[in-house]
Symmetry: C2
Subunit: 512 residues, 2 copies
C-alpha cells in the first residue's frame, strides 16, 4: 500500500479554503539531495516504484516503527486545530529512543526529505502536521521519566511524557512542574516545550521556558547536542536551550528534557467567583489586581457568551448573575490573606464576589473553566485564536473585539487568561469552511493586538495558521535574521519547512 | 593625541602571562572592509596619518562623545577581573541614545572595525575590554528609566541604568527587579543582561533571563530590531530575547530593556547564622534544605578561610565558632514558618544555628557576606572563579577543591551561592603574574565541575578568561553551531571578536 491510497480519506479541512493562500504544506526541498516529488514518490525510487527511497531506507533501518498504514498517515495530517494538510505524509516513524531519531534524521538528510517532528498531536496551530513528501517523526512513544531528583529539584524525561501524567508522578514526591496548559492530560512535555505553551498559571509561575533547564536535541543531520545546564545557573556560550523552547520543530528534534521543578503547592487554595455587569468592567478589575501588586495563581475571565455556553455544557448554572465572570484562585503561603485583598479590589471595581464554600465547589468552578473549549465546539465550528496584550490593555482589546464582531456580523465569544493579558477570541460559524468575514475579522484582531504592544500568539504558536502574519509582528529585518538562524541549525531546510518560516511564496511576510 | 601614546600606561596585566595563550585580544578582522592594522592606524588613513579613518568618521558623526584621551582608553582596557588588553582601543564612544549606537555600528561596519560594547565595566571575565584596533561602545550614559508600569508590572530602561539605582526607584512604587548581583551598586542593567548575571537570589527568584521581557538591539550593521514582548506570554517566532541574554556582546548591542518586575518583598526577613565543624557538612546541610523542598531567599556558604578573611576585614567576629558558616534568609509570605523549618534541617545536619536578634544584626550579617570580594583582595592577588554544579554535588566539589589545593600547593578560599550550587573558588597568590600551579589547579577544577554535570561559569561569563575551555563544555558540534549562529547575527565578525568565540588560533576549543 502506498501513501497515495489515502488521499480520499482526508479529514475535514475547514481552514484550507482561504482563497489567497494554499495551506497545503507542500514542502520546498530544492536544496536537498534526491528531493521527493509532490506525490510522495522518490525521484530516484528503488526497485519498488511505488515505495519512495526514503521510506524503503526507513523500513530497512527501523522496521515496524515506520507506519505507512492509512490510519497512521491520516492521523498525522491534522491536529486539534482541525486544520489538515492536502495530502498524507510519506510515513510516520514512532521513535522509541534517541538513536531512532538520529537514524530518521540521517536518512531524511541523505534523501533530502522534510521532517515534521510531532508529540501528542494536540497543537492548535497546525505546527506538527505532515503533508505530501514529508516524514512525520513522532516522539510520543519516548515517554519515560528517566530521573526525578528532589536534591536538585529537577526531573529528566523523554519528550513523549504527558504533562498530567508527569505531575501525577511528581506529586508523590512532593514536587511539581508548573506548566499547566488546559490540555495537560493529553498534551506532551515535548510539545509543550516546542511551543513554549502557557496555560492558566503563567503570571505567577512563569511560562514553560522558565521551567526547563536543559535539552538534548537532534539536529537535521542526526547530530546530537546537549544544550542548557543541570545547574540553576550556567552561562557558558549562547543560551541555545532557551532558543529551542518555542521553536516549533524548525531547529531540531527535542529528545530529552531536564525540567526545573518546584515544591508542590500545599495548604488552602481560596477560590473566588466574581460577576460583573459587563466584560470591560471585569477586564478593568483584573488589571487593577495586577496593578495592586497582588498575585492570584489563576485569574480567568469568561464573557457572557462563553459563560452561557459553558453553563449549558456543564450544567453548572452561572448564567443570570452577570454579563461577565472571573474565576480566581490564590495558593501557597499567605493564600488566604491575598485572597481577601483580591476580593476587596474586585468589589471596589464593581464585582459581586463570592468565595467557594468548600474544595468540592472550588473544583467544580475550575472544571467549568476547563470545559470552555468543548463547550465552544457545541456552538458550531470553532476557530480558536490566541492574542496577548499588555495587561492594562485587556479592556481595550475586549472593546475592540465587540466592535469587530458587530461590524463583520460574526460571533466571537472570548475568554482570557486575564493575569497574562492572553485572550482566546473564538470564531463560531457553520460548516467546515471559514467564511471570509471571519478571516477579515481575525486579521483586524491580530493587527489591533500588535498595535497595542501585544502579540498574535501568546501560547499556541505560529505553525501553519499564523505564518502569514509573522512578518507583521517581527518586521522584515528580524524575520530575515530569524531565517538565517534557522539556516544555521538546518542548512538544507528540512525541519518543518512549511511552518513558521515557510518560504515567502507560501506565506508572504506581508499579508494580502 | 593618538591612541598609541598610551601604550606605556597599561594597567597591570597579571593574567596576560600564561605561556600557552596570548590573551592580547588582538582582533582578526580579515572579513571587514578597510581592516585596521594591529597598531590601530587605518590601512587607508585619511589626511591625518595618525588618525585612523574610523576615528575620523566617528569624530565627524559624534563629536565629543568620542573619547581618545589616555584616561578613557586606559580605563576601557580592563574590568574588575584585573585582566587587561595589551594595547588600548582606538576610541571609546559614550553613546547617549539609540541613534548614536546605530551610527557607531554603521561606521565600524563600513570600516571593518571591531566593536566592543561595554556597560559599567564591572565584568569579571574580561568580556567587555577593548584592545588594539577596536572601538569600545559604551552605553553607560544611556541611563534613563523610560517607563515604570505597575499595571503591566514592567519597566522600560536604557542599558546604562545601575541595578541598585533602578531598584531604589522601583521601591518607591512597591516594585522590584529581582536580579541581585553582589556588584549591584556599581553594575548596569545592560551588563547584567549581557552576562545573564546571577547573584544571591537565583534559586528562589530565577536568573536574569527570567526577569527580562523584551529588548531593543542594534545589530553590527546598525539595524535596530525589537525582540521579545511587552506581554507575559508571547511565542511569535524564535525567542531571540532569551538568546540575547548572556550573549556577552557577540550578537548585538542592547539599547533598551523591558524588565519584568515583581511586587516588592514586604514583611519580616528572618536571618539565620549557622556554623559547622567542616565545609562538607555545611554543603550537605544546604543540599538537604533544597531536598526538603524549602526555599530560602539567600543561602550563602563561606569556608573557614573566607570566614577568617571577612571577619578581619569587617571587624565582625565570626571566627572560632566553626570551620564553615552559612548565612540564610527567608522572605515573603510564610517567611517565619519556613525559617523555623530550615533551622530544624540545619540542626539535623550538625549546625549550630542562630537567628539574628534584630534587623540591624541581620543587615550586619548580610553586609559581611557582601564584603567577601574586597576581603579576598586583602589576602593577595585574587583570581575569582565561578563554577556551578548540581546542588547535590556541592560537598563533592568542596572536597575536590581541598584536594586540588593541597596537591598543587595553592590557596583556594571558596564561598558559594549554595542554593544554586554556584561556587567561587578564589585563587590567592603574590604578585601580578598568575603562577603556573594556579592555572593547573583552575584547569582541574573546571574539568571536575563539568564532570559533575556542572558548568565552568555560573554567572560571570566566558569573556576572555574562559574561552579556552568553551569547547570542553559545549562539545565540538555545538561550538560549531554556536559560531554559525554568531555569524547569522554578525556576518563580518565585528562584535567582540576576541571574546567567547575567539577564532581557534586565539582560543583553541581543546585546551593545551
Amino acid at each position: 500500500m502506498t501513501s497515495s491510497d489515502t488521499t480520499d480519506q482526508r479529514p475535514h479541512d475547514r481552514f484550507d479554503k482561504r482563497p489567497d493562500e494554499r495551506p497545503d504544506n507542500r514542502p520546498v526541498t530544492g536544496t536537498g539531495r534526491g528531493a521527493t516529488t509532490p506525490d510522495g514518490a522518490a525521484a530516484d525510487a528503488g526497485s519498488d516504484e511505488q515505495t519512495p527511497e526514503v521510506v524503503r531506507l526507513l523500513l530497512e533501518a527501523l522496521g515496524a516503527k515506520v507506519r505507512i498504514d492509512d490510519a497512521s498517515l491520516t492521523r498525522a495530517r491534522t491536529d486539534e486545530s482541525g486544520h489538515a494538510t492536502d495530502a498524507p505524509p510519506l510515513a510516520v516513524v514512532e521513535a522509541e529512543d534517541v538513536e531512532d531519531v538520529q537514524a530518521v534524521c540521517r536518512i531524511c538528510t541523505a534523501t533530502g526529505t522534510p521532517i515534521v517532528s510531532r508529540g501528542a498531536g494536540t497543537g492548535l496551530a497546525g505546527g506538527a502536521i505532515g503533508g505530501a513528501g514529508e516524514v512525520v517523526l513522532s516522539t510520543a512513544r519516548m515517554n519515560r521519566v528517566i530521573e526525578v531528583s528532589p536534591e536538585n529539584r529537577l526531573a529528566v524525561v523523554q519528550p513523549g511524557v504527558l504533562n498530567g501524567a508527569l505531575n501525577a508522578q511528581l506529586a508523590e514526591q512532593g514536587l511539581w512542574w508548573p506548566p499547566d496548559p488546559a490540555s495537560k492530560d493529553i498534551s506532551s512535555v515535548g510539545g509543550n516545550i516546542a511551543t513554549n505553551a502557557g496555560g492558566l498559571l503563567c503570571a505567577k509561575y512563569g511560562v514553560t521556558r522558565e521551567s526547563v533547564l536543559a535539552l538534548k536535541v537532534v539536529l537535521a543531520d542526526g547530530t546530537l547536542i546537549s544544550v542548557g545546564h543541570r545547574t540553576v545557573k550556567g552561562v557558558t556560550g549562547l543560551d541555545l536551550c532557551a532558543l529551542m523552547i518555542g521553536s516549533e520543530g524548525v531547529l531540531g528534534v527535542i529528545v530529552e528534557c531536564t525540567l526545573k521543578l518546584r515544591p508542590a503547592i500545599t495548604g488552602p487554595v481560596p477560590t473566588i467567583a466574581a460577576f460583573f455587569d459587563d466584560v470591560e468592567a471585569a477586564a478593568h478589575a483584573c488589571s487593577a489586581i495586577t496593578a495592586a501588586h497582588l498575585e492570584p495563581a489563576i485569574m480567568e475571565l469568561l464573557d457572557e457568551q462563553i459563560l452561557a455556553a459553558v453553563s449549558a455544557h456543564t450544567g453548572v448554572d452561572l448564567v443570570g448573575r452577570g454579563r461577565a465572570y472571573v474565576l480566581l484562585q490564590t495558593d501557597g503561603a499567605g493564600a488566604e490573606a491575598t485572597a481577601e485583598q483580591i476580593r476587596a479590589v474586585l468589589e471596589e471595581n464593581g464585582a459581586r464576589a463570592e468565595f467557594a464554600d468548600d474544595p468540592a465547589e472550588a473544583a467544580r468552578l475550575v472544571e467549568v473553566r476547563r470545559q470552555v473549549h468543548p463547550a465552544m465546539t457545541r456552538l458550531g465550528t470553532a476557530l480558536i485564536e490566541d492574542v496577548a496584550v499588555p495587561r492594562d490593555r485587556l479592556a481595550a482589546m475586549y472593546r475592540k473585539i465587540a466592535e469587530i464582531a458587530q461590524r463583520h456580523d460574526v460571533v466571537i465569544p472570548t475568554n482570557a487568561h486575564a493575569g497574562d493579558g492572553n485572550l482566546h477570541p473564538t470564531f463560531i460559524f457553520s460548516g467546515d469552511e471559514v467564511p471570509q468575514p471571519v478571516w477579515d475579522a481575525a486579521d483586524e484582531l491580530f493587527q489591533y493586538a500588535i498595535e497595542l504592544g501585544g502579540t498574535l500568539t501568546g501560547e499556541h504558536g505560529v505553525g501553519i495558521l499564523k505564518r502569514r502574519w509573522l512578518g507583521d509582528e517581527l518586521g522584515t529585518d528580524q524575520l530575515a535574521l530569524q531565517r538565517r538562524i534557522k539556516a544555521a541549525f538546518d542548512p538544507d531546510g528540512l525541519l518543518n519547512p512549511g511552518k513558521v518560516f515557510a518560504p515567502a511564496e507560501q506565506a508572504p511576510a506581508n499579508r494580502r
